[in-house]
Symmetry: C2
Subunit: 367 residues, 2 copies
């Protein structure tokens, strides 16, 4: 607070030196009783508070986790990181930690922010999101021996259980596999996959979930003929699926890499005249719940809890030094959960959540 | 950082006193050259950095704004505060400020957090959201003379231009008024309003926008017969509008207090067999853009910029003391902007954003 009284203010009011005030605060026994009382009266009168951040400096800990927050995104699936941020802030609060936000224009700028926050002892650790292949942020943090956890695997790293590179991630492959098997279980064969263009760790991983489920059940199917890609975004997906249907397709259902893609796909297939063509998304965003889209839920509460556990240990109240992952593995892979709603039904149904007593959250698919 | 070297480490390695290290850092001229070099070598060797937070303590400023972040919300419109948080973090960054998050279970708990962060000098100011009638947080912050800005008017306060109670808000009444006049301009008369139950400052304000637009144009209309309420949430709105249509209604269009309500209403009217019954929402969420719902945009970038301007002045780099609003008014009321999409058209249209070159963001309504 700019207007907070300082040690100097207390010293001035009490008519003593700065050092005497410091002695009263830190070694009261060495100060004469009448001087002590005078200083304490001034402290009370001014409302002076020994700064907690000064105490933290002495303790060498700021009780703060730093995380980059990007400018407003208008995407449906962009909100997934917002929901993780809520869960992380809540999990951090339970351990007496806070979360501090900064913005960065790119990965290099993000590293500059890390450096500045580290130099200021403003944070104890960082949480990274949106990891890339050979992520330079991870290499920088590991080299500088700064505690961090990546939400997202260190794609491209040779050793994915390196205690110097802690990470937590959602098992996208397992989630998409579950979604695909759900449609296989409903008797479908020609199940398509709408994914992002190849080259993103997350996207390639999710696509493999569909490939393995299809390959296991239909070994002789030409998978390349069943897959389409679109850049993230509702309109892109809509155009891609419109073109597919305009050209004529024998697809029977569609699993998508995100809710944005699934929503665009759903709009295109419904408008093409297929009211019960099953579509499944990924992320279980509020939009999925609102429009009755089946989707794979990332269990972000579990992701946040695992993030804190990797940083601080199972019950710790302080961030562990870099490279110390305790006895456990240095990563956590969270199993997501398919939420079934009417978008993946083959015939008209009354959605559970649409009735007066429904919670509109769909049904959890049993694994 | 728990592992950061301290002044004591530097002193020990250099074989000098703590005070000598401090002199090298703060008054190098009074230290003998050979001692100075020895200390500087130790500083370099250990990678010691004089703490920025210690400097901030001396300066009496933490360059940090505190804001409460609640646990994950599944609502469509809940994301509005997330989008404000992005805009605020970006606007703060441009002024060298950071944003720190905490969670609170209720208003009293939020005040306890304020107290703890204030006592620790961990923040320079707070931003409050979701203000209520006679908000106890505002009274507490004003009494404690802590700099703050409320996003949301101090509903119920007698003086809404009190420099001790800075606020920024979106003119919900103007936004709903604009939406209603848009439908009047399309030739409709029996335009309904779906709002939240009476008693919330924001909700009552938005409803007045519809009442004034309708009253001005159709003075003899029974407005009570045209309005319905539902608690926030897609399913609630859907049920309310389903019941309305089941009972038989002569409504010609609907303006809603939020995108969640509008989405539920849109689903209900479309399923009741009215593909071109106009519906307009409020908040311009990503969902509105994705499903082609006309909606009132809150201009959150402008809200965030106004928040920082009230806290720090037009070009300030520091938070102003409590009660100092500079020369300007102590509040900012941001005019929202209707974004027209196909949900408010009376006949089938090809949505601008649905084509290959469209940006899917709708058209701005000219005021």
């Amino acid at each position: 607070m700019a207007s907070l009284p300082t040690v100097d203010d207390v010293a001035r009011l009490a008519g003593v030196s700065r050092q005497t005030v410091s002695n009263v605060l830190n070694s009261p026994d060495i100060v004469r009783p009448e001087t002590r009382e005078k200083v304490q009266r001034s402290i009370t009168e001014l409302g002076y508070r020994p700064h907690a951040s000064a105490r933290r400096l002495r303790a060498g800990t700021s009780s703060t986790i730093g995380i980059r927050l990007d400018p407003i995104s208008n995407g449906v699936s962009g909100a997934i990181l917002d929901r993780y941020l809520h869960a992380l802030t809540e999990a951090a609060d339970a351990r007496g930690m806070r979360v501090t936000l900064f913005v960065a224009s790119d990965v290099e700028d993000e590293i500059r922010h890390y450096e500045r926050l580290r130099d200021g002892a403003d944070v104890d650790a960082f949480v990274l999101t949106a990891t890339q292949y050979d992520d330079p942020r991870i290499e920088w943090l590991a080299r500088e021996r700064i505690p961090f956890v990546a939400f997202g695997r260190p794609w491209g790293a040779e050793d994915d259980d390196d205690p110097a590179r802690l990470w937590v991630d959602v098992d996208g492959q397992a989630g998409v596999n579950q979604a695909t098997r759900h449609l296989i279980g409903r008797g479908l064969t020609r199940i398509g996959y709408l994914g992002w263009p190849a080259g993103s760790g997350t996207g390639d991983d999710r696509r493999r979930g569909w490939e393995t489920a299809m390959g296991e059940r239909f070994g002789d199917l030409d998978l390349a003929a069943l897959t389409t890609t679109a850049e993230e975004g509702v309109p892109n997906a809509r155009i891609a699926i419109e073109q597919l249907f305009r050209a004529g397709t024998d697809l029977e259902g569609l699993v998508c890499a995100s809710d944005s893609l699934a929503l665009g796909a759903m709009m295109a297939v419904r408008e093409a005249g297929f009211p019960h063509f099953p579509v499944i998304g990924f992320d279980n965003t509020p939009v999925a719940s609102a429009v009755g889209l089946s989707s794979v839920d990332q269990r972000l509460g579990d992701v946040a809890a695992a993030t804190l556990e990797l940083l601080m240990g199972p019950d710790g109240r302080r961030v562990r030094p870099h490279g110390d992952a305790g006895d456990g593995p240095s990563h956590r892979l969270i199993s997501p959960q398919l939420i079934v709603r009417r978008s993946s039904h083959l015939a008209p149904v009354e959605e559970a959540g649409a009735g007066p007593s429904g919670d509109h959250n769909g049904e959890k698919e049993q694994q």
